[in-house]
């Protein structure tokens, strides 16, 4: 089975080269798919990618944090192959962009190896990762969309003859049609399952986690209760937060939303002072990683059905956290979804960041405060200068449904099963 992962690169920008950087990114953004220096559409392993300029700011104690340039991508397969492919198609672009950053070789001809080692040196480990359509490669997502479109058209064209038949007969006719087409030869086989090694690691870890949980349960309980009490004491000390929504910032952010079907979200902010909050946050993100792998692996983050990829990365020596996601719909809808559907987990993750609406016992209040949460999120949100999606018109729900449609082509079914399958179309 295909494995997806996320790459995060963080560079320090040079003040004197900032205009060049902005110009370079604008140039990419104008024709993100097929520009000459970094044509993302040619990079077959990338689901999503973005370049984000992060302005200089200060940490909680008021010490300066320098301006950064952030690159993120969600990709298929191994990291080395992904970087290799990016440099294969986009070396000139990477050189143009990275030239504006600190520490990049200052000479005319920079070799591929030098770029590669510069990139390697600036890779940041991610802490939490959520994947909506687990296991599916860009290729598979596009192929299955194509397949479903063809089946839908087939149903339209042959409605008169098909409508009088039983669900199983209709399903078999569709199967015959698909398998008669050479372009769908790939669909004769079901999607790759986990290899033996992958399955061993996947279930092995689950087994290990469950064992640890059972053995350590009493100890863990004491730890959780202690942590919650410590947290509550901190919560009580914190001042109430500001509800003021910055209108002009929202309008600026919305100008970067050029599509209604899919968008990007980046939010960055300082983590509350003290080691307790940071440790709590690290444990929470560790858990999200596990939970998203074993529980939320069917397209939904709890009941939120619109997130393709989301990740959390610590920056600047664990002083800041950045949340990066690619999702369906607009940011307005995205933020209201958080409050309407899953305020408790949102609070549990983000309450460790500065200015988050006051929580009570970790999960109460907090993100339930609609005005406060939206004002906070907009305050922390930063625009992406360059954003790429490999499939702008396919939602997570579409991806999941398309695979279901494909999977319905295999094996034998009864009328009831066939009807359920036809309901997907």
């Amino acid at each position: 089975m295909n494995v997806q992962d996320g790459l995060t690169l963080l560079f320090d920008t040079r003040n004197d080269r900032m205009p060049d950087l902005i110009q370079e990114l604008n140039k990419l953004s104008e024709n993100i798919e097929e520009n000459e220096s970094m044509p993302f559409a040619k990079m077959s392993k990338i689901h999503f990618a973005r370049w984000v300029i992060m302005d200089a700011t200060t940490d909680v104690e008021g010490n300066p944090i320098s301006a950064h340039l952030l690159f993120e991508s969600d990709y298929d397969g191994k990291e080395a192959d992904h970087i290799d492919e990016m440099l294969h198609f986009g070396l000139p672009g990477f050189i143009n962009v990275l030239r504006t950053c600190k520490g990049f070789p200052e000479k005319q001809d920079v070799s591929r190896e030098e770029v590669l080692s510069y990139i390697r040196a600036h890779s940041v480990p991610k802490t939490g990762l959520f994947i909506g359509a687990w296991g599916r490669s860009v290729k598979q997502i596009k192929q299955e969309k194509h397949l479903c479109d063809a089946i839908e058209n087939y149903l339209d064209e042959h409605r008169e003859t098909l409508i009088t038949q039983s669900p199983v007969e209709i399903r078999n006719k569709i199967k015959e049609f698909v398998w008669s087409k050479p372009e769908f030869a790939w669909a004769k086989e079901p999607p790759d399952k986990r290899s033996f090694k992958q399955a061993f690691l996947h279930y092995g870890e689950l087994f290990y986690l469950i064992c640890c949980l059972i053995i350590l349960l009493p100890f863990l309980l004491i730890m959780v209760i202690t942590a919650l009490i410590m947290l509550r004491r901190q919560e009580l000390k914190e001042p109430p937060t500001d509800h003021h929504l910055d209108k002009s910032k929202v309008s600026l952010l919305q100008k970067h939303e050029k599509f209604n079907l899919q968008n990007q979200f980046s939010a960055v902010g300082n983590i509350k002072p003290g080691t307790f909050r940071l440790r709590f946050l690290k444990k929470t993100l560790w858990m999200i990683n596990r939970v998203s792998r074993y529980v939320f692996n069917k397209g939904k983050l709890a009941t939120i059905p619109s997130i393709h990829f989301a990740r959390w990365v610590f920056l600047d020596n664990h002083k800041r956290l950045i949340f990066i996601s690619n999702y369906d719909g607009t940011s307005d809808q995205y933020l209201t979804d958080f409050v309407n559907k899953q305020p408790a987990p949102m609070s549990a993750i983000f309450c460790h960041m500065m200015d988050f609406p006051k929580t009570k016992w970790l999960v109460l209040e907090g993100a339930r405060d609609m005005k406060g949460f939206v004002a906070w999120a907009r305050k922390k949100q930063i625009p992406s200068q360059v954003w790429y999606s490999a499939y702008k018109d396919i939602t997570v729900k579409n991806i999941i449904a398309n695979t279901k449609v494909r999977n319905g082509l295999y094996g034998s079914v009864n009328d009831k099963k066939a009807q359920q399958w036809l309901n997907l179309l």
Binding site: C148, E152, L155, D156, R159, L162, I163, Q165, S166, P167, I170, H243, L245, K247, S248, V250, S251, Q254, K255, E257, K258, F259, N260, L261, T303, P305, D328, G329, T330, D332, Q333, T336, V339, N340, K341, R368, D369, M370, K371, K392, D393, T395, K397, N398, A401, Q419, L422, N423, L425
Partner: protein, 475 residues
Amino acid sequence: MQTLEKKEIQGLILRGYSNLPNAVYLLLQVDDHIQAKNWLKSISNEVTPGDVKPGAKAMNIAFTMAGMRKLALSENALNTFSGEFEEGMSTKHKQLMFGDYGKSDPENWKWGGPYCPEVHIMLMLYTDTNERLEAFCEEISAGIKQAGLIILEKIDTCRPDNEKEHFGFKDGISQPFLEELSEKGPADDPIAVGEFILGYKNEYGQFTDSPSILPEEDKNNIFPVQPETELKDFGANGSYLVFRQLGQNVKEFWNFAYENSKDKNGNYIHAEAVKLASKMVGRWPSGTSLVDSPEKDDPAMCNKNDFLYHKQDPHGLGCPYGAHVRRNHPRDCLEGIPKEASFITRKHRLLRRGRSFGPTVVASMSPEDILTAIDDLPDGSRGLNFICFNADLARQFEFIQNIWINNPKFESLTDELDPLVANPYGRGNDNQTNSFSIQERPFRKRIQNIPMFVHTMGGAYFFMPSISAIRYLAS
């Protein structure tokens, strides 16, 4: 339950004036602000408040951002209006959200567009008889002209029989239930009044952001203090008013319904055409829901509005997933989680107060008659003056328009917009036409090449202030 200051709230917010079937809307432009203020002062006592039901006539007034600026409301106060209100309805961003392209492009609007004269004030007049409306309008217009205001548009309205809109379907059935306005006493599922009127708690138990002025700007101490700030609540008892004038192409709608429901020999089948049209709307012409009566119209149930989609029709076999009314108010049916869906849909409701305009194609409004009638009026001669109130434009009107109506991915759908009111041209796809799936057994029927039946002819966001706030603007 919160106590409403009905004396302060303008009448139209609290009631639809069904006893006053004649109405006209005047769009005005202010030239000289001192004269305009004097005029506003002179009419302010005539503005109908919400505490008494008007018998013969009513008048309400609303302002655009530009209008309040023209009336010299301080910049500081203007800044406290919501960002959506400030941006207006005709920017590139809003165009993308609402799908206003092609014929609906703001550049082609009759009023409210980027090339149209700036609208400042909307005066809305309602009367019981047509004669009284003419006299009322004449009297008011004379005052307006005397004060140097310009009447940009006089938008007529009509109230066809049986409360039907031009396509021939009963309209305005499902309105949010406000306990505070009910004479019948408490019901089990009221919507918080703060969803529609500022200064009251909304569905989140919070006060929606409301425009304010500084304490020193309120010398006569007429506004309450905002609960969360020290500022004076200029917006209290007011509401944001959305106005979109929508042209309806009635002949094209019914032609399409008949053409796409012909039998094998190519003959029109009246019952099938009505059924197809009703599937697109989500209700039968009488107003009866397809959930309650999936096979044929049953006028006996036309006022029944307590149905639930997930509970009664989870697979869309009665009312299709993409039908107009199901998209606009999905009730308990989103993502297959009824409890969460009911919780969410309550946050996206509108208080509708619009009226149709233009002559009906035929007085009977029956599809058969519409099909055979000769209609030589140009496009845009009839339609709906869509008017609604909400406290949060982004979360209510814009959300519904963008995330539900104009979303090809609504629910489990893959590529279709609202079949009735959405503009197929726009929203990320280059399709000139729309498609629409009707869930059936053994498999769905997909109607293709649906043209645009409804187009936007004009529109703007207004603010309908409280009675005190009108006086403040006039001072």
